[in-house]
Symmetry: C2
Subunit: 355 residues, 2 copies
Amino acid sequence: MATSSLSSVETPFVQVDLDIAERNIVRLQAYCDEHGLKLRPHIKTHKLPRLARFQVEQGAVGITCQKLSEADAMTDGTGLEDVLITYNLVGEAKRERLRALSERIRLSVVADSAAVVDELAAAMKGTGRKLTVLVECDTGARRCGVPTPEAAAELANRIAASSELTFGGLMTYPPVGGTEAVQVFMQRAKSLIEAFGIPVETITSGGSPDMWRAHEAPIVTEYRPGTYVYNDRSLVTRGVCGFDDCALNVVATVVSVPDPHRAIIDAGSKVLTSDLLGLTGHGHVLGRPDIAIDQLSEEHGRLVTEQPINLSVGDRVRIVPNHACVVANMLDFVVLCRGETLIGPEPVAARGRVW
Amino acid sequence: MATSSLSSVETPFVQVDLDIAERNIVRLQAYCDEHGLKLRPHIKTHKLPRLARFQVEQGAVGITCQKLSEADAMTDGTGLEDVLITYNLVGEAKRERLRALSERIRLSVVADSAAVVDELAAAMKGTGRKLTVLVECDTGARRCGVPTPEAAAELANRIAASSELTFGGLMTYPPVGGTEAVQVFMQRAKSLIEAFGIPVETITSGGSPDMWRAHEAPIVTEYRPGTYVYNDRSLVTRGVCGFDDCALNVVATVVSVPDPHRAIIDAGSKVLTSDLLGLTGHGHVLGRPDIAIDQLSEEHGRLVTEQPINLSVGDRVRIVPNHACVVANMLDFVVLCRGETLIGPEPVAARGRVW
């Protein structure tokens, strides 16, 4: 990409405005500092060591990853060294990689069943090191997690009793609007575990939609938002931020204007993805609230409006996608800028790291 | 991936059974041969030079790509040399790459407006070569394409009049069930163009859902299906094939069984994607028709059933995804096999090539 201005970068591309991303990071860090909350951002949104380092420099206690391969990519020669993997790690290949990673960085992981706890203990056997394990709790998302505070206490006990593991606390990823349920579940679980004489050092929750309400569950000691660094149409629609706070845009070119109310752009689901997150349409065209992106195929996005569309072949549009995290996973690099100033392409280090 | 059997490949991964893929290729080639149809498979599904070569060896006249960068990846040292790009190419960067590619391989492209025709002519100016351009027609999909046979004839005339371009024929990507509309549109467009004294060499249509009905539009000379090489849940649901004909599966591990009717797997939207294609749920778990994949987040898939789910942490499941093409775009490699015999990982050469 030997080009000197944003307008000459070949479309479609994913543009990340570092000024906006850094402002988002600084603002949430200030909120967490004000409320005595530790911040451990999830890197699933940006997948860039560069932004993770900025988050840590601003005060984050470390980073969150979902998979071992993400943690590998984020800590390999990057200076990042404190990672929580909020995922049950299962299988022989993962045990080996877990052992290797735990030797290299300060690592903690989670478990929501005796089977996973036993896998983790087996992975650490003979290393002479203890792995910190948090219990994942289901506070309403109905995904992973022990279903009750009693089950959380039982699993905490099993972890604490293992000579290979250290009990690190409780973890949840609540559904949107689940802040109060987090408080109730965690209070009860903490009491039960402390009654066993086991300290509960960390209670960690997450989710960008409710990030400005994190202090309403005061039992939570640590927060793990991901999307806040970029924001997206989903968060704008929920009132969490404005379009001006969206650091990640998709830039596309109009390739066809088959009728006065329809235009086709060169970005489809291979850039914008099909994630709807409950919304209608596939993104917001900046400056054109009248336009809906009503259909995507892999390489085509269809823009429609009841007004005259007033776009010509060759015009560029900028789109705030429904879901920033998944868009950042589609291409090998994003194009960094500050406002209209092009910085250049940045490899998405943890893209496609699903193992 | 130093492993000797499929069961030891780390999950999640995308598995491609070459026996099934080759059978699908041979079967459709035989159908096309029987009906005197040229076959020009779209590589958007597999994105693998290896399978494209097999398609050509079996009788395909060349391949179809959607973007220049796909064509670059598919023809760079692969022996493949006949490509139709079914996409309006717009912008200075693309003009340069088009020039370079047209020098290297036998290339044809499409246009659906005077603006695109003029861009293509400008790209070829001074090369001394003529580029073959087909007119894209909208036969009901309401995406790109000229809206009427009259408009197709007008654009064909403009192409034929250019000293840099050769008119190559007509192209459409019809909606599912649009075979009859293709016949009607193309017949009229062909007559109008021939009345100008311009021959219409190729009339090319596509779409795996209607591939076994391609002969019902006898005016069509060439067919461009993509998905048929792998098939998927969408095509099974439409009655086009069976699950035994699905060459691409996602293999995942159960990481949590939080209640007797729910299990969580380590494949989410970063492998299966959110494409629904009008279906309910996010894939078919082979051997378990009672299970629905009712929710995906990026790294989690949620399996639910009204019966006891009878899965344990560590169990593997194989999933036929809704849409094979987009799944093949998510990871850097697929794992090739023949039945239960592992062949090994194969880089997805054209993955993420959206330019």
